[in-house]
């Protein structure tokens, strides 16, 4: 049941002349018509649209400060990144591959014509051990061995060019010692009977 008088309803629908209405209904009719004008004069906007309108009407204050300040502000500003699920999955798979795929010993990744050499020596009580050889032009300080757990076993991994290399350990910066685990030795040719260790590095590509 309509709460509006049917005659008023008919007048609002244009089916009855408002002048024929009784005085009280004519007054109600006039109020309703004026209210209708008020509503039709206001654009119907969503909340989001009203907010955006508000923002546009009140722009952010001009940024001040130097380039450094602006950069810092830019870094701190939240950014919305839109990604397709397929791309997100591909990105996740790539990161997983980087994290999970095996690398060479110690995380070394040799090139096609390189291989990984592992140096190990038992030098209890040594303060330092390094490897010096043809792969580093016999330069001191280029490849140090480590004994992090102080058990006297020193070790280092290095990516070296494939092929033959001669080398020696230098213990405590002064004592030249052939690698007892090398298995291959060659006279160093300087006439004092000292032997270099011989290392044959296989290219990583040829490794099983």
């Amino acid at each position: 049941m309509s709460p509006i008088d049917p005659r008023l309803h008919e007048a609002l629908d244009g089916e009855r002349d408002p002048g024929e209405l009784p005085a009280d209904l004519r007054e109600a009719y006039a109020r309703l018509i004026s209210a209708t004008h008020l509503v039709s004069g206001t654009p119907r906007l969503s909340v989001a649209a009203r907010v955006m309108t508000e923002i546009r009407q009140n722009p952010a204050p001009a940024q001040t400060g130097g380039p450094l300040r602006r950069s810092i502000r830019w870094l701190g500003r939240p950014v919305t990144v839109r990604l397709r699920p397929a791309w997100t999955l591909a990105l996740a798979a790539g990161l997983a591959a980087i994290l999970l795929l095996p690398l060479g010993p110690g995380g070394l990744t040799p090139g096609v014509t390189e291989g990984v050499a592992k140096f190990v020596g038992h030098f209890p009580g040594a303060r330092s051990v390094e490897v010096v050889g043809s792969f580093n032009d016999w330069s001191r300080g280029a490849l140090a061995l480590n004994d992090d757990d102080h058990d006297g076993i020193w070790h280092a991994d290095a990516v070296l060019p494939a092929g033959q290399h001669e080398y020696m350990f230098v213990v405590d910066g002064e004592r030249w010692v052939p690698d007892p685990l090398a298995g291959r030795y060659v006279d160093d040719g300087f006439g004092d009977g000292q032997q270099n260790s011989v290392l044959i590095v296989r290219p990583a590509a040829a490794q099983p």
């Binding site: 010993p105 050499a117 016999w138 040719g189 300087f190």
Partner: protein, 207 residues
């Protein structure tokens, strides 16, 4: 005009660049030894021999603080070994200029004590392949008391059955393992055992 000038400057600079590893030796080799070593390296350049083994020997001796006279002798011995190596390579690989890589590899094998006839035989089997692995495999076998000729026979067999490069080193490792296995196995029995398993010698362990 500019192109011609650049060409002339390039040609003039080439001998300086090619001269040798002088720049690598300066400041590292004792001044007393440097002129003699420069002269030895210049001789190697003139004879088209590889100079890198000589530069390395000079750097090695300097790092070890070898006295100047012994340092020079060590580098000179290297030159003589390179000459001997080139003769072997020229005989084994006739009809072409001895490749520097072959000469350097043969020189290193001679330094390890590999007999020249064994070197020549192995080079003849695979003249166009890098000879280093086969030569080192032979030197490994001989160092482990195998007969040089029998060792060479085994490596030639391995090559004929398709093993190349590092796999030839695996043959030497397999022979040594067979010898170490005990049970009174003689070196010739160990070689025969490995020959029977060719080409399926065990793969090396990863480093």
């Amino acid at each position: 005009m500019m192109v011609r000038l650049a060409l002339v400057l390039g040609l003039a600079a080439a001998p300086l660049v090619a001269q040798n590893g002088n720049t690598r030796l300066a400041g590292r080799v004792p001044p007393a030894a440097l002129p003699a070593i420069d002269s030895i390296i210049a001789t190697a350049v003139a004879e088209s021999l590889p100079t890198e083994p000589l530069v390395q020997k000079a750097l090695e001796g300097s790092a070890k603080h070898v006295p100047a006279d012994r340092l020079v002798n060590g580098v000179r011995r290297g030159l003589l070994q390179l000459r001997a190596a080139r003769v072997i390579v020229a005989r084994a690989v006739p009809g072409q200029a001895p490749p520097e890589g072959h000469v350097a590899a043969v020189s290193a094998a001679l330094a390890r004590g590999l007999p020249a006839p064994i070197v020549e035989r192995l080079l003849t089997v695979a003249p166009n392949e890098p000879p280093g692995p086969a030569l080192h495999a032979a030197a490994d076998l001989i160092a482990h008391r195998f007969d040089p000729d029998s060792a060479a026979d085994l490596l030639v067999d391995a090559h004929n059955k398709g093993l190349r490069d590092g796999r030839l080193l695996d043959v030497a490792v397999a022979a040594d393992h067979e010898l170490q296995r005990g049970g009174g196995r003689t070196p010739s029995e160990a070689l025969a055992h490995v020959r029977a398993m060719l080409p399926n010698v065990p793969l090396p362990k990863r480093p």
